[in-house]
């Protein structure tokens, strides 16, 4: 069997078509490295500048606790260092949220890109491996069996005292080695470019991450190879096999994700920002209607009942609006995840889902960013309440509340605070490259492995029954 493997590898490497395709794949990895290194550096630069600006602006607010707590910071999500793997659509995912001590809202996409530039296909590893290398897998496997039959060499091969299982495995492993060699070379090339241009720094974590991604991609490509060999073992003519495989490829790469999108849009209705605005306005009105008249008339001094009711009312309104906003975001996330789930029916969709999870980009990245915003808002609120308590100014009723981004002067402490005591957004921490266990897509990986085994079994049965004459 070892001999068969060696023979397949040699044949594969010598073949002109493999050489061309390999050059193609390697050059796309090179382009990937170049494009993403430039983009990452530009993104990190602009992110650092925005963080510095936020800090500077925050400092200006520290002279007055009330102003500080109401001051709306724009938190921008740190660009992911693994965008070169799974960051193709990162520029359209919301990456900024406005936070103050009372609410976090308004996920926006702050884009530094040139609006005028025509849109091009983003070439991250998901695209290269999921679209181009799967095509390569189709092209090296479509005639692995029926091509040999046509050339007449299959009968010769089978006449050796080697079992069909060994031949099948030998062919499979030979092709797999060729494919993974290309993959690893390409990946290293891409990494080399990223490291040399200084976009990323070398670390054991980065290497481990690349190894994990290689493993996952290898399993996906193996599935495509097995598919190719199975189809090849079902037909007598290489041309037929090629066409069937190409149709399958189009279904896997284009049709399934497209249909997944349709289905997810039909099944989960996401409210428009207009509807949300209306809902919030209605809720707000309902809250004020339920309050006594005096709650909306600000007479008397700060300590009077009116002011207390006013503050209570507004606290309820802000909480209600936050709830509605959170619900809307949850619906959006639900729709996006449903789309991902449906698209995972295809191996490319599954690869896409796994790599997005593992690299914490896409929807996963947004989820943790949003949760982080909520945590930060709570920290700011706790800080405000604590600082207010520490202030024993008798001229203020010390009711910590806000209308969203302002409060009536002196309702709570307006003393200055030290910048160093103010809670800060923690995304400043170093690049997190390795996924936590929770992020690791175990189930999806298992499904991928099972699919491999299933197709291998079918393929082998087809090959075992194959007539080499």
């Amino acid at each position: 069997m070892l001999h068969i493997i060696k023979q397949q590898i040699k044949e594969g490497l010598k073949d002109a078509r493999f050489v061309f395709l390999a050059i193609l794949i390697l050059s796309t990895f090179l382009v990937n490295g170049l494009v993403f290194s430039e983009q990452y550096k530009a993104d990190m630069d602009s992110w650092r500048r925005s963080v510095n600006q936020t800090t500077r602006l925050l400092e200006e607010q520290t002279s007055n606790l009330q102003l500080l707590s109401n001051y709306e910071q724009t938190m921008v999500k740190r660009p992911s260092p693994l965008a070169f793997i799974a960051g193709g659509g990162e520029d359209r995912i919301p990456n900024s949220i406005t936070v103050n001590a009372f609410r976090y809202m308004d996920p926006q996409t702050i884009s530094r890109d040139n609006k005028v530039m025509p849109v091009v296909q983003s070439m991250d590893w998901i695209f290269i491996i999921g679209n181009l290398m799967t095509l390569l897998a189709v092209f090296i496997s479509y005639n692995s069996v029926c091509g040999e039959k046509r050339d007449g060499t299959l009968a010769l091969l089978l006449s050796n005292p080697v079992s069909r299982l060994q031949i099948f495995l030998g062919k499979y492993l030979g092709l797999l080695i060729v494919l993974t060699a290309t993959l690893i070379t390409g990946a290293l090339l891409s990494l080399a470019v990223l490291l040399l241009t200084g976009a990323l720094t070398f670390s054991a974590e980065l290497l481990l991450m690349t190894a994990i991604v290689m493993l996952i991609s290898g399993i996906t490509l193996s599935l495509m190879l097995l598919l190719g060999m199975t189809v090849s073992s079902c037909t007598g003519h290489p041309a037929v096999s090629l066409v069937v495989l190409l149709v399958i490829w189009v279904v896997i790469v284009v049709a399934v994700p497209g249909i997944a999108w349709i289905l997810s849009e039909q099944m989960v209705k996401v409210p428009s920002s207009f509807e949300l605005g209306r809902e919030m306005a209605a809720a707000q009105e309902a809250i004020w209607d339920s309050k006594p008249e005096s709650a909306q008339n600000l007479f008397g001094d700060l300590f009077s009942e009116n002011y207390r009711l006013w503050a209570e009312g507004w606290t309820e309104v802000v909480a209600m609006r936050q709830l509605i906003g959170d619900d809307a975001v949850a619906t959006q996330i639900g729709q996006a995840e449903l789309q991902q789930d449906y698209a995972s029916i295809s191996p490319t969709g599954l690869l896409d889902a796994i790599l997005h999870k593992v690299c914490a980009t896409g929807v996963e990245g947004f989820k943790s960013f949003y949760r982080g915003a909520r945590r930060y808002q709570q920290q700011l609120l706790e800080f405000t309440v604590a600082m207010d308590r520490a202030d024993d100014d008798a001229e203020s009723p010390h009711i910590v509340y806000s209308q969203g981004n302002r409060s009536i002067d002196r309702m709570f402490s307006t003393k200055p605070v030290a910048l160093s005591t103010v809670p800060r957004w923690h995304q400043l921490s170093s690049e997190r490259i390795l996924p936590d266990a929770a992020q690791f897509a175990f189930i999806e990986l298992l499904i991928l492995v099972l699919e491999n085994l299933l197709v291998a079994a079918i393929g082998f049965v087809a090959f075992a029954r194959y007539d080499p004459r």
Binding site: A255, W261, S273
Partner: protein
């Protein structure tokens, strides 16, 4: 003889499994894509209509001209069904403001930005990626395949010149690819008509016709590429690989590299500059206005009243004397002038940035111009009106509308002699003398202390009649128009490519060894 040969070629292609599969896949993809995006367009359009209506309703809340802030909407275009372009990446709504020049639009029609990162499978993408692949597959073994099976020798032994053989192979391939496409496209149009009831204007129909024409030329380009690859190598597998290599280069690599290189050679101005300018001018303005209020219009007094003026909600409570009232007017005039000047200053800075962006995009276009995929994309986006140009035209329209409204306000004196009318709800008589003002204030206090609800007291203010809708200019936008002039250039280029590659293939085939 020629006709017979042509007929035989076409038949031999049509009878293959390959063709059937290509037909099926093309049909499914095109019809599915148009159906899905048609549905999406209908929903977006409904949302757009609802938004326009609701904003029209909200004009009921405009009591004074300073509250006039309509939203200018860009309707979605049905042509986006064929080419999404930037329809979902750029905004489609701008809020009118006296104090800022429209330079960016917000997106009011996209509900879920999280799903926006998926490749959109519009007709343009399908064509660029998949139909080109199919075109190559039809012809990659036109010569090398026949050479392998030995029939090429036979073919050349007939009385046909090599020129005619080459041309006929091309025509056959072209017919075989254009039939599925035209069939699918017509079905797709029928789906749009009957399932979604989407209507196109005359200009849009012409644009669709041109798009179909451009698509056919695009197919032709790849068919001749396939023929060339076929005529260059002896083995069909080698020509397949060469063809795929060229496909990946032309369709994927060159546009990506073109963009990257343009970003490298023509970098943009840092956007932080604008943000800095905005913050800096806002801070400066705050200081200047505070100083002015202190020095020139001290009778306004009190941060509460000051805050009200900035919010333009001056009411009875803020003026206790005629002098104070005059101060408010003077301050408002000054503030208005300064804020409008700031808007212009920021806009001028932004304009420079946009110029640089356009230069970078032009460089990318030049560098990618050799890619037929890029040219086809250009045709699609220009004819469907979903490129940057339409967005620019819309914003320009918004700016001109703002100018028109400002001029109207100026004509009515809202910025100088009639500034009272700009934001005050109370009639001028209420401020005719100190006694009148005092009396009203005492009156108000008396009523409030006797328990009259606030809403009833405030009916003294000018009757709550909203301003008439037709008082001010209305925003008109003609909707995305196909840009025929700009589309002719890429179509021409595509035709040129097809012709040049045809002749190259022809030259290569002449020397092809058929043995």
């Amino acid at each position: 003889m020629l006709i017979a040969f042509l007929a035989k070629e076409i038949k031999s292609h049509l009878m293959t499994f390959r063709f059937m599969a290509a037909l099926l896949v093309t049909f499914l993809l095109i019809v599915l894509s148009v159906w899905v995006l048609g549905n999406d367009f209908v929903l977006r359009n409904q949302l757009y209509v609802k938004l326009s209506e609701s904003y029209a309703e909200q004009s009921d809340d405009v009591y004074v001209p300073s509250q006039f802030s309509p939203m200018m909407h860009k309707p979605p275009t049905p042509m986006s069904i064929f080419a999404q372009g930037k329809e979902k990446r750029l905004g489609n709504a701008v809020v009118f403001s006296r104090w800022s020049v429209p330079s960016d639009a917000i997106d009011q029609l996209t509900n879920n930005k999280l799903t926006a990162d998926r490749l959109s499978y519009d007709l343009m993408t399908i064509f660029i990626l998949i139909i080109s692949l199919f075109s190559l597959l039809i012809t990659y073994d036109a010569f090398s395949g026949e050479r392998e099976t030995g029939t090429l020798r036979l073919l050349c032994s007939f009385g046909l010149s090599r020129a005619s053989i080459f041309t006929i192979k091309f025509i056959a391939g072209f017919v075989v690819i254009s039939l599925p496409f035209l069939l699918s496209f017509v079905s797709a149009l029928l789906v749009l008509q009957f399932v979604h009831a989407i209507a196109f204007t005359g200009a849009q129909w012409l644009a669709i016709a041109l798009i179909v024409f451009a698509c056919l030329i695009y197919c032709a380009v790849f068919i001749v590429i396939g023929l060339v690859c076929s005529a260059v190598s002896n083995r069909s597998s080698a020509s397949l690989v060469l063809a795929l290599f060229i496909w990946a280069l032309a369709v994927i690599l060159i546009p990506a590299l073109g963009n990257s290189m343009a970003k490298f050679f023509a970098p943009l101005l840092p956007p932080e500059e604008i943000e800095q300018l905005e913050l800096q001018t806002a801070a400066e303005l705050k200081v200047i206005l505070a100083k002015y209020m202190e020095e020139e219009t001290p009778r306004i007094g009190g941060s509460w009243q000051g805050a009200y003026i900035l919010d333009e909600k001056v009411s009875l409570f803020d003026t206790f004397s005629v002098a104070g009232y005059n101060d408010i007017l003077q301050y408002a005039r000054y503030q208005e002038r300064l804020k409008q000047e700031r808007a212009e200053r920021i806009w001028n800075a932004k304009r420079n940035h946009v110029v640089r962006e356009k230069e970078q995009a032009e460089l990318a276009a030049i560098l990618s111009s050799i890619s037929p995929a890029f040219q086809l994309r250009d045709v699609f986006t220009r004819l469907s009106g979903t490129g940057f140009k339409e967005y620019d035209i819309f914003l320009d329209g918004c700016r001109r509308y703002r100018q028109a409204v400002l001029q109207d306000f100026r004509r009515r004196g809202y910025f100088d002699r009639n500034i009272h009318d700009l934001f005050m709800r109370l009639p001028k008589e209420y401020f005719s003398s100190d006694e009148v003002i005092r009396k009203r204030w005492d009156d108000y206090l008396a009523r409030r202390d006797s328990g009259v609800p606030l809403q009833d007291i405030l009916t003294w203010e000018r009757s709550y009649q909203p301003l008439r809708e037709d008082l001010f200019p209305h925003f008109q936008y003609r909707g995305a128009q196909p840009d025929f002039n700009a589309a002719l250039w890429p179509i021409g280029l595509l035709s040129l490519m097809a012709a040049v590659i045809f002749f190259i293939g022809f030259a290569v085939f002449i020397r092809y060894d058929v043995r």
